[in-house]
């Protein structure tokens, strides 16, 4: 029992000493991610896409008063670059990438309405990004609604003047009896950087834990140190558990420093500190497990690094980091649950931004990943030792 403790402490202090002997690594591990977060916060404005528009308004399409109102409506969401009646010239601008959208108003709108026909406002564009296209359609639709309301208000006003009906009601009330009113009970709207900070923190912790774990065993294997372990009276349990302890301590300290830095940047921390520490430790051990698994199956350092990067990519796409999990096929959801980041993002946001305790599902998810990977690593490492 005492010898086992000595073994554990041997690996624990060895891993810690090895890491702290590399100041550049330390700097890149702590300051690097912090700088990424800082740059993200400074540079990302989180607004809507800024579309440049060339408006084509045939002379007979709309009155000048209506046209001015329409321009006002356009400039709420778009940047109006040109405004004339020459459709061909506007299309040329589009092909020269001088504008993103050519918005073409229909001719004789009022006449069409009188004849009971709808008129189309055409949006011609060359957009590659599907998110931009979705925004474009959404903003275009909102703009056409605004134009419709403006036309209706004008029509109501004319009717009121001609028939003395509903003269006591303002035309905008008749046309839009309901208006939206928003109130965020949490208080002021959170900034994008602060919203993403817990997710970025979780991502950084997971990635560093996976990378350190992935390089740990494969390097010792390559160097020949496993031969030494094979002959010494030390069990694979002691070796692996000692490694877990060493890296967890190091990553725990790193996490504390990162949390301190992002709080300085203005990210709120509303929840329970103890819960946060426990969740961070679970994230670290689950991620180390994945890293050690990679290390046990890799033959070289470069394979381990490649697999770590692959894990990072998988985590970014399938954890809800920036693509909502609800948008995925339901068959994919179980897969997203084996990524520690999926649980950690939700949990960190719960604790830091909402001040609530993470759901049991999150704790169980991370604990299961930790347990399963720990057992798998023990088995694989034992096999590795016996197949030297």
């Amino acid at each position: 029992m005492i010898k086992s403790f000595i073994h554990l402490m041997a690996f624990f202090s060895k891993e810690v000493n090895e890491v702290i002997r590399q100041p550049r690594l330390l700097l890149s591990l702590i300051l690097g991610p912090f700088m990424v977060l800082l740059l993200f916060g400074i540079s990302y404005n989180g607004g809507l896409p800024n579309f440049r528009v060339a408006l084509v308004a045939p002379p007979e399409s709309i009155s000048s008063e209506q046209l001015n109102k329409m321009k006002e409506s356009i400039t709420r969401n778009f940047t109006l670059v040109s405004d004339n009646s020459d459709e061909a010239a506007a299309m040329e601008m589009l092909h020269r990438r001088e504008v993103d959208i050519v918005e073409i108003l229909p001719t004789n709108i009022e006449q069409n309405v009188a004849e009971g026909k709808q008129s189309s406002v055409r949006f011609e564009y060359l957009v590659v990004n599907p998110f931009d296209e979705s925004w474009l359609k959404y903003l275009g639709s909102a703009q056409v609604n605004a134009m419709n309301r403006s036309l209706l208000e004008q029509a109501v006003r004319s009717l009121q003047e001609q028939s003395n009906v509903l003269t006591n009601l303002p035309p905008e009330t008749v046309v839009s009896p309901l208006v939206p009113e928003y109130q965020n009970l949490r208080g002021e709207t959170i900034e994008f950087m602060n919203f993403y900070a817990p997710s970025v923190l979780a991502l950084i912790l997971q990635h560093i834990a996976v990378t350190l774990g992935a390089l740990s065993i494969v390097r010792e294997h390559g160097r020949g140190a496993l031969e030494m372990f094979r002959i010494a009276p030390v069990s694979s349990f002691d070796i692996i558990t000692g490694k877990y302890l060493g890296y967890t301590l190091f990553l725990g300290i790193m996490a504390s420093i990162l949390v301190g830095l992002i709080i300085v940047l203005g990210t709120p921390f509303l929840g329970n500190v103890v819960l946060f520490i426990l969740l961070a430790l679970l994230l670290i051990t689950a991620s180390l497990g994945i890293g050690f698994l990679i290390s046990c199956v890799s033959k070289t350092d470069s394979t381990a690094v490649q697999l770590s990067m692959l894990t990072l990519l998988v985590s970014i796409f399938f954890s809800g980091f920036f693509l909502p999990l609800e948008n995925f096929n339901s068959l994919m959801l179980p897969f997203t649950n084996i990524v520690p980041l999926t649980h950690a993002i939700k949990g960190f946001q719960n604790i830091m931004l909402e001040g609530t305790a993470p759901s049991p599902y999150i704790w169980i998810g991370l604990a299961l990943i930790t347990l399963v990977t720990y057992i798998a690593v023990q088995l694989l490492f034992r096999r590795l030792l016996h197949r030297l």
Binding site: A10, K14, R21, G224, E227, A232, P233, L388
Partner: protein, 381 residues
């Protein structure tokens, strides 16, 4: 000539040291080894007769003290023709056992087989009275292992590496601290104890590796090519360390591809293509290679042909030949140099041939090795 002198000097020093040890009774085992070696018929060679001879050695060893290593027809093959096979040998306690062979001959595989990293595919191996692949923790605590390459941690200091390895053997803090001081002094690294392993020279790294192998005070030490890539001065220091350890009663199983290092071992096994060809003391291997003791005689160059003819007619002479490189020099093979030299001088004197110099000649082990390889039919390798 110089080489010969050095070799003779070394041999004499070693003999003196052995005698001294016998007198002070510090190395009992070496004398046992000598007696056991005498009990079997000089050099062993791989053949059916030879196996019987090895059995005789084993019985002799068994009768005095149980050997620390026993291998009986042990074999470990990676595929049908690569690996080691038919390993039958015994290593008494308190000796330096040298396993010599060219690169790829199976030295590392043998060490791995004996240290429990490999399991024999057939035959049996017993080390410290246990099958290595089922070593108990206690047995492991009695084994030190020095791998062929530097396997320690470049980002840890000398003292931290040593401390880590000692911890692997369950040594407590105070014990580790004390042992670390002793060992670093022993391998002359005490002045660089805080230097990172990555900043050590190759020789220093090998010494650190040796210190780590000794961290837990093992009784049996496996050293896999400890002197590979090390300069001659450092190699000599390594062997000094090994002899000190042997004199303290430890057993060392050392592999090397430097033939000249055979001289430093108490028992030597020559391995080639996975088979042990010879196992014996260095002196007996030398006798085996040249059919007995070699005597170097120096006579008048004008009468050297006559002298050769005369000596070859003597019953105690197995072979006499002139040295073409050095006029007047004769090399004579006899069963026993010490008793033959006066007789040979007298025979020459009867024919009025003056002997200017007569001495027992110990040819360098490179020559011994080549001769043995020739006898084994592999001289062209």
């Amino acid at each position: 000539m110089n080489t010969t002198v050095i070799m003779q000097h070394k041999s004499l020093t070693k003999q003196l040291k052995i005698e001294h040890n016998k007198e002070t009774n510090t190395v009992v085992n070496f004398s046992k080894l000598n007696s056991s070696a005498e009990n079997h018929n000089s050099v062993e060679k791989r053949s059916s007769d030879d196996l019987a001879s090895r059995e005789a050695v084993s019985k002799s060893v068994k009768s005095s003290e149980p050997p620390i290593i026993k291998a009986q027809n042990a074999e470990h093959l990676f595929n049908e023709d690569v690996g080691v096979r038919d390993l039958t040998f015994y290593v008494p306690r308190g000796v330096i056992f040298g396993l010599v062979g060219p690169s790829g001959s199976g030295k590392t595989t043998t060490i791995r087989l004996l240290s429990g990293m490999y399991k024999p595919t057939s035959g049996s191996v017993q080390v410290l009275d246990q099958a290595p692949n089922h070593f108990s923790s206690r047995a492991r605590e009695n084994i030190g292992y020095m791998p062929q390459h530097f396997v320690l941690y470049p980002m840890l200091s000398v003292a931290e590496n040593l401390n880590f390895v000692a911890s692997l053997y369950g040594m407590g803090y105070f014990k580790r601290r004390k042992r670390s001081k002793t060992l670093l002094r022993f391998v002359e690294l005490d002045r660089v104890r805080d230097r990172l392993a990555s900043q050590l020279s190759g020789g220093m790294q090998r010494r650190l590796q040796l210190a780590c192998a000794l961290a837990h005070d093992p009784q049996l030490i496996f050293a896999d090519e400890p002197t590979a890539g090390v300069d001659p001065v450092m190699r000599s220091k390594f062997w000094d360390h090994f002899r000190e350890l042997r004199d303290e009663g430890r057993t060392l199983f050392v592999t090397t591809q430097y033939i000249g290092e055979i001289e430093n071992c108490d028992i030597v096994a020559i391995i080639r293509e996975g088979r042990m060809l010879y196992i014996n003391t260095p002196e007996e291997l030398r006798r085996k290679a040249f059919g007995g003791d070699l005597i170097r005689l120096s006579v008048d160059p004008k009468r050297v042909v006559e002298a050769v003819h005369l000596l070859n007619n003597q019953s105690i002479v197995k072979d006499a030949r002139r040295s073409f490189g050095q006029p007047g020099l004769l090399l004579v093979s006899t069963d026993d140099a010490a008793s033959s030299i006066p007789t040979l001088i007298a025979v020459l004197k009867e024919s009025k041939i003056d002997t200017q110099q007569a001495e027992k000649y110990a040819p360098p082990f490179d020559d011994v090795f080549i001769e043995l390889m020739k006898q084994d039919g592999g001289g062209d390798d």
